[in-house]
């Protein structure tokens, strides 16, 4: 061990620490600049009128009512479609499916589906729901497309939550004469519930940020009404934002910033619930 080697070794160690620190703060600072910029531009535009007005060609009169209601509709419908399907599939795969070659292929494919670009789901939705099933650009077509998009995310995350349930609890339940379904309903699901709910919320908050697949399916850019049924035409916040950003007038950019603030608030709120549940409902064994 010579002295020079020791010096270099320590210098490298110190350098890596600062490199890591830089990486961590780079992302945070960029995010802070982005949020600061949006707040600076859009906060002044945010008002009750802005939230309760329909879109308009006059930027100062335009609001996000139809987009906000469209987002709420889409979120609820997507949740209704994706949650039972996702949790059901996860339970089957984790608790019932036998480990076979076919099972492994199914599993691998579900993991891969979670990584497919969302616009591909849009094309799938356009072909199947909009054209073949003749749903047009309705809320139903949009929600089914988004449900397909987040289904693999829910399945993968729910399986992780189910896997984390101690085997000893499952054995205890079976040993008392419980059937498989009783064991799932009374022991496995309650023990996994915080993990499952967290995964569902995070998947849904991804869904409400999507514009691309909904544009492809046929959501409208200009919707001067609030959707009243699942067959209504609709728009959502990300589409409204996209639409405003692409206009030449500066005033529409301000509107877009204000709408982004609303969307961010919804997403932050949902994530806050997820974090709360993770901390609060965590069961110690």
């Amino acid at each position: 061990m010579n002295k020079r080697y020791e010096t270099i070794k320590r210098a490298k160690d110190g350098a890596f620490k600062y490199f890591g620190l830089f990486c961590t703060f780079f992302g945070l600072i960029m995010l802070a600049i982005f949020i600061g910029n949006i707040l600076f531009e859009g906060l002044g535009r945010l008002s009750w009128d802005f939230i309760t007005s329909y879109s308009s060609r006059l930027p100062e009169k335009a609001g996000i009512l139809s987009a906000l209601m469209g987002t709420v509709w889409i979120m609820v419908m997507t949740a209704l479609l994706a949650i039972p399907g996702g949790i059901g599939a996860a339970i089957y795969l984790e608790m019932y499916a036998k480990r076979t070659r076919f099972g492994n292929i199914v599993e691998l494919n579900i993991a891969n589906l979670a990584g497919i670009p969302s616009i591909i789901y849009g094309l799938l939705g356009l072909e199947i729901f909009t054209y073949q099933l003749q749903m047009g650009g309705s809320l139903l077509a949009g929600a089914m497309t988004l449900a397909l998009l987040i289904l693999p995310i829910i399945i993968v995350a729910t399986r992780e939550a189910l896997k984390a349930v101690p085997r000893s609890l499952i054995e205890a339940s079976f040993a008392l004469g419980a059937t498989k379904w009783q064991t799932i309903r009374r022991t496995v699901l309650p023990a996994a519930s915080s993990g499952i709910i967290t995964s569902v919320i995070i998947a849904l908050s991804r869904a409400i940020g999507e514009a691309a697949p909904l544009i492809v399916v046929g959501a409208l850019a200009y919707v001067p009404f609030v959707p009243t049924s699942p067959t209504s035409d609709f728009t959502v916040l990300p589409i409204q934002i996209f639409n405003w950003v692409s206009r030449p007038q500066k005033a529409f950019l301000v509107n877009a910033s204000a709408a982004i603030i609303v969307l961010l608030c919804i997403v932050f709120f949902m994530n806050a619930i997820a974090v709360y549940l993770r901390i609060k409902k965590k069961i110690k064994y």
Partner: protein
């Protein structure tokens, strides 16, 4: 020898005839012939991996949960071959053959709900019956006085020894006739262990008990019969007193005296 026992002391509660078990290619149990009399305590001893826990888990078909397993031979409980049962009848078997595990594993529920669980999954909804049964079995498990004021509290607030007695109460609540115990005191301190052993002694009046243990003194204290397992075979089975004072096989003596294992 088995026939002699039978004539002398009544009928067999559990009989296993030439039982083989394979995990994939691994031959874990090699032709086990072992029978137990009603209302006796049988201890199964042997070094880790010898097959004693595997054998225990045969008796309530807990091994069914493990994929890629193969079982040959006959296991009779009250004269019925439990491996001839339809898969939808296994819950009946498990109601009759209770189990207490190595580590206390209460459900993340209240103390009351832990004991009531077995009743509920077996379709009992009568509230007063459940309440009575919970009290009765907590008394049987010598836990009632310690928990009667906090039945609604989480089972995780109990100490390890209390949790294990709760798990015993939980197993008793559905009124099985056989109780399997897989090293029930191995995670407990000596005082809690003593309480569990006293309990086993009490329970013998009403139940047939089979206990797997690594603790020779424990086997000597609580059991009437002892079986020594080694490398998947039942080397010797006899009255506990005989096994511990005058075993007929050299391996048994080596193990008991601590020369290996």
């Amino acid at each position: 020898m088995a026939e002699k026992l039978k004539k002398a002391e009544g009928s067999f509660k559990i009989e296993s005839k030439d039982v083989h078990l394979y995990y994939g290619d691994f031959h874990a149990l090699k032709g086990i012939n072992l029978s137990m009399l009603e209302n006796t305590v049988t201890a199964l001893i042997g070094p880790s991996g010898c097959g004693k826990s595997t054998y225990l888990r045969l008796l309530n078909r807990m091994n069914d949960l493990i994929p890629d397993i193969q079982i040959k031979g006959q296991v009779l409980i009250d004269g019925q071959d439990i491996y001839q049962l339809k898969s939808s009848e296994i819950d009946h078997l498990r109601r009759n053959v209770g189990m207490v595990f190595q580590k206390p594993n209460p459900f993340p529920k209240s103390i009351f709900e832990n004991v009531a669980y077995g009743l509920r999954v077996n379709g009992i909804t009568d509230k007063s019956f459940i309440e009575n049964q919970v009290e009765k079995t907590l008394r049987e498990a010598a836990l009632w006085d310690e928990v009667k004021d906090k039945l609604k509290k989480s089972a995780f607030e109990l100490s390890g020894g209390q949790q294990q007695r709760l798990c015993i109460a939980r197993a008793l609540a559905i009124e099985p006739s056989i109780i399997l115990m897989d090293e029930p005191a191995s995670a407990l301190d000596p005082i809690s262990t003593g309480k569990i052993e006293d309990l086993i002694f009490q329970l013998k009046k009403d139940f047939t008990i089979i206990i797997v243990t690594h603790n020779m003194q424990q086997a000597g204290r609580v059991s009437d019969f002892t079986g020594f397992f080694y490398l998947g075979e039942l080397i010797e089975f006899d009255k506990t007193k005989k096994i511990f004072t005058n075993p007929s096989k050299q391996e048994t003596e080596n193990y008991i005296t601590g020369r290996f294992g």
